[in-house]
Symmetry: C2
Subunit: 161 residues, 2 copies
DNA sequence: CCAATGTCAGTTTAACTGATATTC
DNA sequence: CGAATATCAGTTAAACTGACATTG
């Protein structure tokens, strides 16, 4: 079946071939993430941080005293990109970095108390969005979704690892 | 909430609180999408297009003759951003835009035959990645995942719509 | 007049590659 | 020396806001 698509007025038309976009998991993944990101952007901007900044702060809180290079690996970006991010967070007084006590070259990163407060606020907002996002789903559905995403992550990681 | 985290060597440490990152759907969504995006980037670069360009071409193919403003809405970006994207695709000979036949201001977009060929190649690569990504999951699991993502999209769309 | 469209201009964010110095 | 780290510099991709003309 190759069907029609009337969009005389410019309205988007879902159409056509069977295995189009709409059936694809990757497409939906992008779409869901894009929508979530927009929501997060909006609420986080109110308290003065971006989504990547928030994500970085979360990573730092989780892995206390972690170094730039390790954070970069955790976030799947280059050392250089993470370095830029950390510098901007540092300039804003959200993190501190001292040369490692072992005299090495590493500079472990710590959240300041300002950051802890900000992060608490941010997390509350983000958790609220996430709650809203799954509100209509049963616990079983949520679990299935979580496991499905885990499966994707594991499969995508395997070859690159 | 001050639990231990020994990362003397810089190794990331999963740690701490119960409701940390790792339990959160949004976090996993970002992670899965980030990994998928990296894979797509890699394979699409080989044929000379980026992920956003690929996504735009798919949108155009799906909604034949659609206009800039409509594509922007479909992709959740501004008219101006989509315009830049279309201009670059046009410069590369992948799309054509003629003033609408109705004499209006709209300029419907069409794929060139070059683009059709390129898109076929791109899609094959992307579909292969997607297949690999869900290879380890049962059909039921895949369906559950798909429906879960649909649920997220619907919920996230509602308030902004 | 109003709303939507297309587009120009300038800006910002967040990534990238390349190169350099340091340190174990 | 080699490997990992931190960081400087320059670049790019892809989004953004603002402004303006056109068109129905």
């Amino acid at each position: 079946m190759d069907d029609k698509a009337e969009a005389s007025d410019g309205t988007a038309v879902a159409s056509g071939r069977d295995e189009t976009l709409d059936r694809r998991i990757g497409y939906r993944l992008r779409q869901a993430q894009s929508l979530l990101r927009a929501r997060m952007d909006q609420t986080l901007r109110e308290i003065g941080i971006s989504v990547p900044q928030y994500a970085t702060l979360e990573l730092i809180r989780r892995a206390l005293g972690v170094t730039n290079a390790q954070l970069a690996r955790d976030a799947f970006i280059t050392r250089q990109s993470m370095n830029t991010m950390l510098q901007s967070l540092q300039r804003r007084g959200l993190i501190e970095r001292d040369a490692a006590d072992d005299g090495g070259r590493q500079m472990p990163t710590r959240l300041t108390s300002d950051a802890e407060a900000l992060l608490a606020d941010a997390e509350e907002r983000v958790v609220a969005i996430e709650a809203e996002m799954v509100a209509g789903m049963s616990a079983a559905q949520q679990t299935a979704l979580l496991e499905g995403l885990d499966g994707l992550i594991a499969a995508l990681r395997a070859p690159a690892d």
